[in-house]
Symmetry: C2
Subunit: 220 residues, 2 copies
DNA sequence: GTCTATACTTGGATAGAC
DNA sequence: GTCTATCCAAGTATAGAC
């Protein structure tokens, strides 16, 4: 097998140190948190020298933002893919439950929360993180659109409001779950929602693509 | 005016350095975040020497926990006082909106979130914070009790589940608000809830102290 | 109780050899 | 591109003077 030029141990990186650093940063943020995500720790996990963090990213914060970008992009793709198959409130709750469980398990949700909370003590990080949060809010708004703008609830609450609340709930549940590693309460909540979804579905909370009022029996 | 014994500047502390340190820690956690809450920063704000943190609290973390205790106790008292006057869903939403706006404004919610998120990178802090979170969850459960156990929703979801979700939403909204200092979305959400409350009230979501079901007038 | 001084550690960032 | 070496700043914690 081919070795990289220098004599350093090949470790976890196959010729792409920059990517190895991003991956390592993701890993550290996920499991050790923002405060532990130092240049030395991350570089150590990537199997390379600490100075390379600055060579590639200029600063630690920029590396962490790159890590956030990485998972955000992955998640966004997966979410939108999954959303395509949703045809009712039951489906949507199933999807939300699955997504949340995955993000909780993988630590992706934790990473996001750490970056948000860490932004408080790093000037300028707040706006950068917020910009990267926009896609998540948009995804939530899109997913909830059949409820917020075409259902029986339409007009009672704005789509943006519902999306904001949903993202907040997602983050808050992660925060609590991560506190003691107990994901049971959050998962139970989604399980409950899953069981309640059919009821709400029948009550007219979800409407199909082109159905605006229950008066016409055109095509379903 | 009386001066304290030594020649140091009287600053913000009137003879009680320990309390001044706690207050300063509260202040720093509120506005600068967990990562900025170092012995030097806090002691500086308290107007005393950095070494006194260790003299009084043994470690920085223990000082921060004392700060968390301080605000938790204050909040708990205020909440329970306010809860006494609640007589319907409308009242409850008003109370929640007011409490949340206050906690957002004062930074108390931010302090809690910072401690939770910071716990990730400090071994042992997680359980300590969780223990201090129990009263908040209990308060939420008590406040929501008329909805979760005696209303039309009773049986659909457990009281613990609803309380957990409520606390999570509270924390998540703070997280988002603090990100860019924009509290508008969160406040708009509560404003919306406030307007919707009367509707839900009429729909039977709230029941009085001794009303258990519309069929029997016996006591439960 | 409070301060000064200091030991020790860790982290961000740069310079320069290879 | 990667490493070693190093500088400097900041943090925790302790010792000891007052």
């Amino acid at each position: 097998m081919r070795r990289t030029g220098s004599a350093s141990r090949p470790s976890a990186r196959a010729g792409n140190t920059r990517q190895a650093l991003v991956d390592a940063a993701v890993d550290v943020l996920r499991h050790e948190g923002f405060a532990a995500a130092t240049a030395r720790t991350v570089a150590g996990r990537a199997g390379c020298n600490q100075g390379l963090v600055f060579y590639y990213f200029g600063s630690v914060v920029d590396l962490l933002l790159a890590a956030l970008d990485e998972v955000s992009e992955q998640r966004r793709r997966r979410y939108e893919e999954a959303l395509a198959g949703v045809g009712g409130l039951g489906d949507l709750v199933d999807l939300a439950a699955r997504i949340f469980a995955e993000d909780l398990e993988s630590g992706d949700a934790a990473l996001l929360v750490e970056m948000i909370a860490g932004a408080t003590s790093t000037p300028g990080l707040g706006v950068a993180v917020k910009a990267r949060l926009v896609p998540w809010a948009q995804f939530a708004a899109a997913a909830l659109e059949p409820i917020s703008s075409r259902s029986a609830l339409a007009g009672l609450a704005g789509a943006g409001e519902i999306a904001h609340a949903t993202v907040a709930l997602y983050l808050g549940l992660e925060l609590l779950s991560h506190l003691d590693g107990d994901t049971a309460p959050a998962l139970a909540l989604f399980e409950r929602a899953r069981r309640l979804a059919p009821l709400a579905d029948m009550a007219g909370l979800w409407t199909g693509k082109d159905q605006t009022s229950p008066t016409t029996t055109e095509e379903k």
